[in-house]
């Protein structure tokens, strides 16, 4: 768990809850843009977007985690992640800050009724706030 303390994390918000993503997994963060729906593809695949001429798939994390679906607001962002040498976007309701954790605890079996397998651990900030750290490869390979 110790090496996780060295990383910086991007903290985002999904349905009012905070989640963290390792900063070196993040390629860039863009404003929400129109997503072209791909019929009959993986169910959690929201569609594809044009990222400066590249076609990038976007997944719906809300759906994977079983949260209420996102709605497109001013603060909605697409976090573009690096995954197996490809880019994959995830929709988040808001991006809050970049932070480091002072302590990281192992994940319990469930976090707010969500399967604990989707998280690396629980990060604890200096203010004592607890934020779940997303396990990207697990999320992007979700089986639905």
């Amino acid at each position: 768990m110790n090496e996780l303390l060295d990383y910086q994390y991007v903290v985002c918000e999904l349905c009012g809850e905070k989640y963290a993503i390792k900063i070196n997994e993040v390629y860039e963060i863009i404003r929400f843009k129109k997503i072209t729906y791909l019929h009959n593809s993986k169910s959690y695949l929201e569609g594809i977007i044009n990222l400066r001429g590249k076609i990038v798939p976007v997944i719906n994390v809300h759906r994977i985690l079983g949260l209420e679906d996102y709605s497109d607001t001013k603060s909605t962002r697409i976090v573009i992640l690096r995954f197996n040498d490809e880019l994959v976007g995830t929709i988040v309701d808001r991006v809050i800050q970049v932070t480091k954790f002072s302590d990281i605890q192992p994940t319990p079996e469930t976090v707010d009724e969500i399967n604990g397998n989707y998280f690396e651990g629980l990060g604890i900030t200096q203010d004592g706030e607890v934020i779940a750290i997303m396990k990207i490869d697990k999320l992007l390979n979700a089986e639905y």
Partner: protein, 680 residues
């Protein structure tokens, strides 16, 4: 030390190229036995191959090419005559080299192919006895290639009692400016009579070419001795002069090899020199880099159209501003440059279909020989350009169509005579561009396809049921030949008849997003028409809307667009169909597949008739948007392969539209029955 993969690959590429050149030139030699240029080219090929095979340590190829080089050298110096057995041996060598190359590319230097037989064949020509026999049989007269006018001239001269001589003049070795000397002799002979032709052609020669012996075909009233005395008396620097009567019967000798190649856009003469020079100025480039370049240019094209869009958007607001004018100008300039760049990059990948067509003459020659048929091959449009990757995938279909034409189509000479046709059958291969599409036609004037027989065979092999067979119209029966396992040939030969040929044709055309059509007339012949997109990277797309979503369809798959009243939709076995010009076309509603409502704004529905290989179907769309060049972007492996989309493209406004995969739609419909739902 030279066995790095790059080096080996470069070697194999070179061998391919040289063998192609070799084949092309043996075929030419067969038609044109005395053309020095062809023999020189053949010699050069053997020499190049010897050098490069030695460099990679490919011993067997080195030995074989070395022997070939010797024989060709003898041919070049006139010690061996070009006759059919010699050409056959050269063909054998070519085949052997091809086998060697294949084996080398798969097993490295562990070669099992036995070349000794071919080698001993070659030796036969090198050693004396065969040589003597052949040369005695061969004409003493040098064979002149005369055009029609010259033939008549010679024949008339002989008929009116004049002598027709072949004068062989050998110049002294140390003679300077031989061409000039040869020209002087020509002028002098013209005073004594008329020179019809000289070999080599002096009027066509460069000054620096080294000629030692020249033959003139002379019409004169003098006899041999008089001629000799006059020439040796007046002309200097002549080693020997020899006049012989010209054998007029040679004129009638036409090359009869069962197959005659006619090239409509002929490349005789100087043209060969030009192409040779061009070939030297090329650079080998890794295709991956070209693809990357194409991709980048594609991105540039998209950004360009966005700039143009924004500039025209800002036009209203800032049109009085001077610097805005500059911006507009730059934007136009960028547009122009990008378009040119795009065209250029596309062209880089385009190659003339020649490299594929060059294999046909040999194929037809061998087919004609083994089938004992007489076939004339007509090739047209070999300079038509096509994307390199498409050319490669087109090779198998083309070979199969030609085999079929030769085996099933063209009749034996006897049959043809009985039917009142020319005993020599014709296979015509034609390529051209039409409206951003590549069209390939393979046509024969043989017996055509017997529809009743097709029906019988299809029934016999269980491809259709008897019930179905009564419902099919002629066109539909004809399409049965593309079904896997279909063949009407009675016996399985090594040429065709296994029933996989047309299946391969269909599969490859399918893969290339192409369309194939057949036309046949009993006793008159069969015509296959293949239509393909020019390139796979950028395509002409028809943009359509289904339930507010925009999709692109490759225009090469669009056969036609019709508007019909919905009342015209009929049902056959729960399937929506429409009848267009007596052809039943089933309808596909992607709405059902996408689980979106079928919209009906008015009574008319828009149907885009799509074709893939031999299949046709109608796609119901809500709205037509228009034609546009689209850059194909493949889906990343994270998305994986989707049933009915082949990729996506970025539209002018920066949004993404999916490209419908017509082959995929056919496949998915067959399994999932998209169109099963009732039309409410």
């Amino acid at each position: 030390m030279y066995d790095t993969p790059e080096f080996i690959r470069a070697f194999l590429d070179e061998v391919d190229e040289q063998l192609e050149l070799f084949e092309e030139n043996i075929l030419k030699l067969e038609q044109n036995a005395n053309d020095d240029e062809i023999i020189k080219t053949l010699f050069r090929v053997a020499h190049t191959l010897k050098g490069s095979s030695a460099a990679v340590g490919f011993e067997k190829m080195k030995i074989l090419t070395h022997e070939m080089e010797d024989v060709l050298d003898k041919i070049r110096s006139g010690k061996i005559k070009v006759i059919k057995p010699v050409i056959d041996v050269l063909f054998r060598c070519l085949d052997e080299l091809k086998t060697l190359k294949e084996e080398f590319s798969s097993n490295g230097n562990d070669i099992k192919t036995d070349i000794t037989l071919t080698l001993s064949e070659l030796h036969k020509y090198m050693s004396g006895d065969q040589l003597l026999k052949e040369t005695i049989n061969a004409e003493i007269n040098k064979e002149f290639k005369l055009d029609l006018e010259q033939q008549i001239q010679a024949q008339q001269a002989a008929a009116s009692g004049l002598n027709v001589f072949v004068c062989e003049v050998k110049l002294k070795k140390d003679c300077v400016m031989k061409t000039v000397r040869a020209f002087l002799i020509l002028n002098f002979l013209n005073q004594l009579g008329t020179v019809i032709k000289s070999e080599p052609d002096i009027t066509d020669m460069n000054d620096n070419i080294d000629v030692e012996s020249i033959s003139y075909l002379l019409i004169t009233e003098f006899d041999k001795e008089e001629l000799k005395v006059k020439v040796l008396d007046r002309m200097l620097e002549i080693e020997s002069f020899n006049a012989d009567s010209f054998d007029l019967s040679l004129i009638h000798r036409q090359p009869d090899n069962g197959c005659n190649v006619t090239k409509s856009n002929g490349y005789e003469g100087q043209n060969t020199n030009e192409t040779k020079n061009k070939a030297n100025q090329t650079v080998r480039v890794d295709i991956g880099r070209l693809e990357k370049m194409m991709e980048m240019v594609g991105e540039l094209v998209i950004e360009k159209s966005r700039i143009t869009q924004i500039v025209s958007f800002l036009h209203e607001r800032y049109n009085s501003d001077n610097s805005f004018e500059d911006l507009e100008e730059i934007s136009n300039q960028i547009s122009r440059i990008t378009n040119e760049l795009q065209e250029l990059v596309l062209k880089v990948r385009m190659l003339p279909i020649k490299q594929l067509f060059s294999r046909i003459p040999r194929l037809v020659r061998d087919l004609a020989n083994s089938l004992h048929k007489e076939i004339e091959l007509v090739i047209e449009g070999e300079d038509t350009e096509l994307d390199k990757t498409i050319i490669e995938d087109l090779a198998d279909p083309l070979v199969h169509l030609i085999r079929n034409a030769a085996d099933h189509g063209i009749e034996t000479p006897d049959e043809r005579l009985k039917a009142g046709k020319n005993p020599k059958g014709t296979i015509r291969v034609n390529a051209y561009h039409q409206e951003n599409q590549f069209i390939l036609i393979v046509q024969d004037d043989g017996r055509g396809i017997n529809l009743n027989k097709v029906k019988e065979v299809a029934l016999e092999k269980g491809i259709i049921s008897r019930q179905d067979s009564d419902l099919l119209n002629d066109k539909e029966i004809l399409e049965l030949i593309f079904k896997p396992g279909f063949s009407t040939s009675q016996s399985i030969s090594d040429i065709s008849g296994r029933g996989v040929g047309m299946d391969i044709v269909r599969n490859n055309i399918n893969k290339l997003n192409g369309v194939i059509e057949v036309e046949t007339k009993e006793w008159e012949g069969t015509k296959f028409i293949i239509k393909l997109p020019l390139t796979l990277a950028i395509l002409n797309g028809l943009l359509i809307r289904i339930n507010n979503e925009i999709y692109a369809i490759p225009v090469s798959n669009v056969i036609e667009i019709v508007r019909l009243n919905e009342k015209e939709i009929k049902k056959v076995k729960k399937q929506d169909v429409v009848i267009i010009r007596e052809r039943t076309i089933s309808l596909i509603w992607l709405h059902d597949y996408f689980k979106v409502p079928r919209k009906r704004r008015n009574k008319n529905i828009i149907i885009v008739i799509l074709g893939i290989a031999e299949k046709r179907f109608g796609l119901v769309v809500d709205e037509l948007i228009g034609n546009q060049e689209i850059v194909v972007k493949n889906f990343s492996s994270y998305i994986g392969k989707l049933d009915i989309f082949s990729g996506a493209t970025i539209l002018g406004d920066g949004n993404v539209a999916c490209i419908l995969d017509v082959a995929g739609i056919v496949k998915t419909t067959a399994s999932k029955k998209i169109c099963d739902k009732k039309f409410v």
